[in-house]
Every structure is written in structure tokens, then in C-alpha cells.
């Protein structure tokens, strides 16, 4: 999660650079196309004006390509953002369902979630303003309800679901 804003900023400056480049190209193209058109009409078409027309066409095509690229980049950024949100939302939902299934109390749910986030007993105790002994007892009850032997298995329970072919089905837990 820590490198997300970084990645986003990078994607953003990339799109800004692309957009600025497109506009510069457009300014250049307008001048060049105007010049080429003028030459084409004022003099009889020769090799010079044909090459100029070719360059003008290439330049305009380049702008369209850059625009297309920019749009793809923007759409990709948008899709990634959405996928990430969906995944995060789904994961929370999976955890919630599973906690329901195990019949955790509200306090146990909170402790369980903090434990999944990787906080240790003393940190959880400090966050919840509870004694470490209380948290340890809650953790033990959670492990008992989940039928796991300890924190590693507890965390693995959810990761296994993510890696396997589906989300925690209530019958699997039973």
C-alpha cells in the first residue's frame, strides 16, 4: 500500500507529459500544415511540396497515435484503480463472512482484523486500550473458534482462500 501513491504519481506525470507533448505536436502540426498547404496552392506541386505534405500527414497521424496512447494509459490507470478497490472490498467481505461464520464477538472481530493486518499483541493492546493479557486471551479464543493452531495458520486460512479456487465457503470451515 505504501508504494501506491508513488505509482499513481508516476502514472500521472506520465499522462501529463503525454498530453503536453500532444499539444506541442498540434501547434507544430498546425503551422506546418498551413505552410505545406500554402506551398501546395501557390506553386505547382513538386518533390518539395509532396515531401512536405507527407511530413504533414505523418505529423497529424502521430498526434492521433499519441492521443490513442494517452487514452489507453488513462483507461488502464482507471481500471487498475477500480480492480484494486474491488479486490480490497472483496477481501474485507470475505473476512467478514468468515468471522460471522466462526461466531466471533465484535471485540474478537476487531482483534482478529488487527492480527491479520500484522500487528503484534502489544500494539493491538495499545490500540484498543486493553491489557496485553486480555488481547492474548481473545486471540486464543479466536484461534479456538477458527480451529487453527496459531497466528500463522490463522492468516494462512485467508490467504489460502485467495490463492485457491474461490472464497471461503461456510461448509469448508465446518
Amino acid at each position: 500500500m505504501t508504494n501506491r501513491p508513488e505509482a499513481r504519481r508516476q502514472g500521472r506525470s506520465q499522462t501529463i507529459a503525454l498530453a503536453a507533448f500532444m499539444l506541442m505536436q498540434a501547434v507544430a502540426a498546425v503551422f506546418f500544415v498551413a505552410d505545406a498547404t500554402r506551398d501546395l496552392f501557390e506553386k505547382p506541386p513538386g518533390a518539395h511540396s509532396i515531401i512536405e505534405a507527407l511530413i504533414a500527414v505523418t505529423l497529424v497521424a502521430g498526434i492521433f497515435l499519441a492521443g490513442w496512447q494517452l487514452r489507453l494509459t488513462l483507461e488502464r490507470m482507471y481500471a487498475q484503480e477500480k480492480a484494486l478497490d474491488t479486490a480490497r472490498g472483496d477481501f474485507i467481505r470475505i473476512i467478514d463472512t468468515q468471522f460471522d461464520d466462526w461466531g466471533l464477538t465484535p471485540a474478537e472481530r476487531e482483534v482478529g482484523l488487527l492480527a491479520l493486518k500484522g500487528l503484534d499483541i502489544s500494539e493491538i493492546a495499545r490500540l484498543r486500550g486493553a491489557a496485553q493479557g486480555t488481547v492474548r486471551a481473545q486471540m486464543t479464543r479466536i484461534y479456538a473458534k477458527a480451529g487453527v493452531s496459531g497466528r500463522a495458520q490463522f492468516a494462512a486460512w485467508f490467504v489460502e482462500d485467495l490463492l485457491g479456487d474461490g472464497i471461503g465457503r461456510p461448509d469448508d470451515a465446518a
Binding site: 498530453a19 503536453a20 499539444l23 501547434v27 498526434i63 492521433f64 492521443g67 490513442w68 487514452r71 488513462l74
Partner: protein, 214 residues
């Protein structure tokens, strides 16, 4: 997919962050061009023509982006709809404006009006300068200053009858009227953004400068 983004009630709607970099850069470039050419630069001067040509290319790109760009930048996201514009203005007065993923209907009408004015100003400007690029104009002026008047020959060769003089007066009048109209529209546009920002309790200018929040 975008439809369910604005059907939810009030606070549930995520504030839209619709402006991609190209929309933002072109918006501010054109704003700067309007201010420079409308208020600061000398009409007919090289700077004036330069700025006009840059505005022309930026407008062209933006219109292309209206077909090619991401959903919020496309014309289809803000169709011209005077009826919807009026009802949106009424909802702003009542203090309960709806959120839109792109321009709101009133804003959309303003966008088209501004683009149309811009197009008129650019077109008449091109007619007045004989569609000469600022580079050509600068070159010709330098030549004339050095005593070479041949570039003026073409102009006097063409019939300088009363007809064409009257015509160029009309073009000039249209150019100036449209430019003034555009400045007035721009002022209304700024006022509209301020009112809408106040009604939505959200700074609408920030996304146009910085892009998506977070």
C-alpha cells in the same frame, strides 16, 4: 457503468474527478490565450497572431479529444441540452444541484458557447490576416521595414474596391464582437463555477488544476 455512479444519494456519490491531463492543459492554455489576446496583446500584432494560432491548434486537439478521449472528455458525456441546463440552474438556485460525472448541463452549454465563439474569433482572425502564419507575417514586416515593399504588392493588386473594404469591416466587426462576447461568457463561466462550488460545498477549480484527488 458510469450511470450507477450518479444515481446514488448525496454523500454516497464519490466526487467526480473527471479532468484528464489533456483537458486540463488545453483548458488553461485557452484561458490564457483568451486573456492575452482579449485584454493584453496588440490587435494585429505578431504576438496576437501567434497566440491565435496556438489557440487554434489547442482547440483542434480538444475537439478531437471530444471524440477520442476518455468518457468524461467526450462530447457524449455532455450533450447540448438547453432544457436540462435550465432545470440544472433551477436546482442550483434551490441549493440541491445534482452531481454529474462530466460537465453539468448548464456547464455543457457554456462549453459549447465558448468553443463556438472561439471558432468564430479564430476564423475571422484568419480571414483578416489572409491566413498567413505569424512567422510569415513577421518575415513580411521585417522585409517591409528594410524597404522591400513587394509583399504589399499582392494586397494592392487584389481589388481594393469599396466592396472588399466593406467586407473586411464586417469581418473585423464580427471578430471584435465575438471576442467581447467570449470575454463576457468567460466571466459568466467563472461566476458559474464559483456558485456551483458553493452549492456543492466543493472546490470545482482544484480538479481542473491538479487532476484527480488523493
Amino acid at each position: 457503468m458510469s450511470d450507477n455512479a450518479n444515481t446514488g444519494g448525496g454523500a454516497k456519490v464519490a466526487p467526480p474527478d473527471p479532468w484528464d491531463p489533456l483537458v486540463r492543459i488545453s483548458h488553461w492554455t485557452i484561458a490564457a490565450a483568451v486573456i492575452i489576446n482579449g485584454l493584453l496583446s496588440k490587435p494585429g500584432g505578431t504576438v496576437h497572431v501567434w497566440v491565435g494560432w496556438i489557440a487554434m491548434s489547442v482547440l483542434a486537439i480538444r475537439l478531437g479529444w471530444g471524440l477520442l478521449g476518455p468518457r468524461e472528455a467526450r462530447f457524449s458525456a455532455f450533450p447540448p441540452d438547453p432544457k436540462a441546463a435550465v432545470s440544472h440552474l433551477l436546482s442550483v438556485i434551490r441549493g440541491k444541484p445534482r452531481e454529474y460525472p462530466s460537465h453539468n448541463p448548464a456547464g455543457a452549454m457554456m462549453v459549447y458557447a465558448l468553443w463556438a465563439m472561439l471558432a468564430v474569433v479564430i476564423a475571422t482572425g484568419l480571414i483578416m490576416t489572409d491566413a498567413k502564419s505569424p512567422i510569415t507575417i513577421a518575415e513580411e514586416r521585417a522585409a517591409v521595414e528594410q524597404g522591400d515593399w513587394s509583399s504589399l504588392a499582392n494586397r494592392s493588386a487584389g481589388d481594393d474596391s469599396d466592396d472588399s473594404l466593406a467586407q473586411s469591416d464586417i469581418v473585423k466587426g464580427v471578430h471584435e464582437t465575438a471576442a467581447n462576447l467570449m470575454l463576457i461568457l468567460a466571466l459568466i463561466h467563472v461566476a458559474g463555477v464559483a456558485v456551483e462550488s458553493h452549492a456543492l460545498r466543493r472546490n470545482l477549480v482544484r480538479p481542473m488544476i491538479k487532476g484527480p484527488p488523493k
